[in-house]
Symmetry: C2
Subunit: 163 residues, 2 copies
DNA sequence: CTCTGAAGGTTGTTGCGTCAACTAATAGCC
DNA sequence: GGCTATTAGTTGACGCAACAACCTTCAGAG
């Protein structure tokens, strides 16, 4: 399926079309499962999860945006919706009045805890369980290379460049 | 970056977060480049490319939708826009009046030919050139497994169910 | 030939993401 | 201590995608 790509060798094309297919289908599946079972998008789930595991369960908009690879604008819209739904609270930081700090409400924490097992199970079903340990290692290596190329600003995870 | 995932071993989490990061960033990059250089989305590019390489450069909506992993609804909206922009034409099939056949106009073919080199170059820059031949082979193998799991209907490339 | 169901597409609504413009607060500079 | 530039975030308008409802045409049964 998918379609032929001109000016590309067969082996290149196979890797490329495979990757782009996964990039189209996987996020759709994740959104679909979370929407069905927990009435939230994958992005909302990622935001809630990041806040929950942040120090003191509290994070600035900028920190969340960086962690989730999103823009501040998108995040602002999403957090406004989450606030209206009673899942998060926004408050101005004490030390810097420009900063908005996001925290989970108890309802937000509850919904997240309720949503997590199903999501993890889906990730296992769609990805982890399909692959051997070597596959997983290969995938980690490859996606790390691609991630560094796609967003060079994020390649400093403590290492300098030590692949 | 990205964020911790509960209930997952470190090696699983690394593969998973790497994959999801690529799935977020890569389509955005592709859309961005095509929009900037050729005023079209990656999906529009895929539609035009598929039609161009179809037998007689002509394809039904359903065939395009399957090849691009999209719904008929989405495709219908997109083709209507492409038609308004003068890049494609729609016509009823002679043999089955339900079927809409899409063809490229000369302008559509011209735009596609103009857009293709830059797109391929971007794909090379972001993906192909970053990876070794073994990486590419690994990626092809892994994405094939994932693609089969994500969309089982597309796994019949000649096999019956031979995992 | 007509009735029913399925196949192939289209259309309207609603919701999310992007972009550009904007406000407010802080840091740096002289 | 005021001026400017930068940082942090919000807002509104517009475009695209998902979902559901709908229409038309074809195939099969009697």
């Amino acid at each position: 399926m998918t379609f032929p790509v001109p000016r590309m060798s067969p082996s290149e094309a196979e890797a490329w079309t495979g990757l782009i297919r996964v990039c189209m289908l996987l996020p759709a599946e994740l959104d679909s499962q979370l929407q069905r079972d927990s009435s939230m998008t994958h992005f909302e789930f990622a935001v809630l999860t990041f806040v929950r595991w942040a120090p003191e369960s509290r994070a600035s908009m900028t920190a969340i945006a960086e962690a989730t690879n999103s823009t501040l604008s998108r995040l602002s819209h999403v957090c406004t919706r989450l606030q209206k739904r009673g899942l998060v609270e926004k408050s101005a930081s004490a030390s810097d009045a420009r900063v908005t700090e996001v925290t989970l409400t108890s309802a937000g924490r509850r919904e997240l805890v309720r949503a997590t097992p199903g999501h993890i199970e889906t990730v296992r079903r769609l990805v982890i369980d399909v692959l051997s340990d070597e596959d997983l290692a290969d995938l980690a290596r490859i996606t790390r290379l691609l991630g560094e190329r796609l967003d060079p600003s994020c390649r400093g995870d403590g290492e300098s460049a030590g692949q």
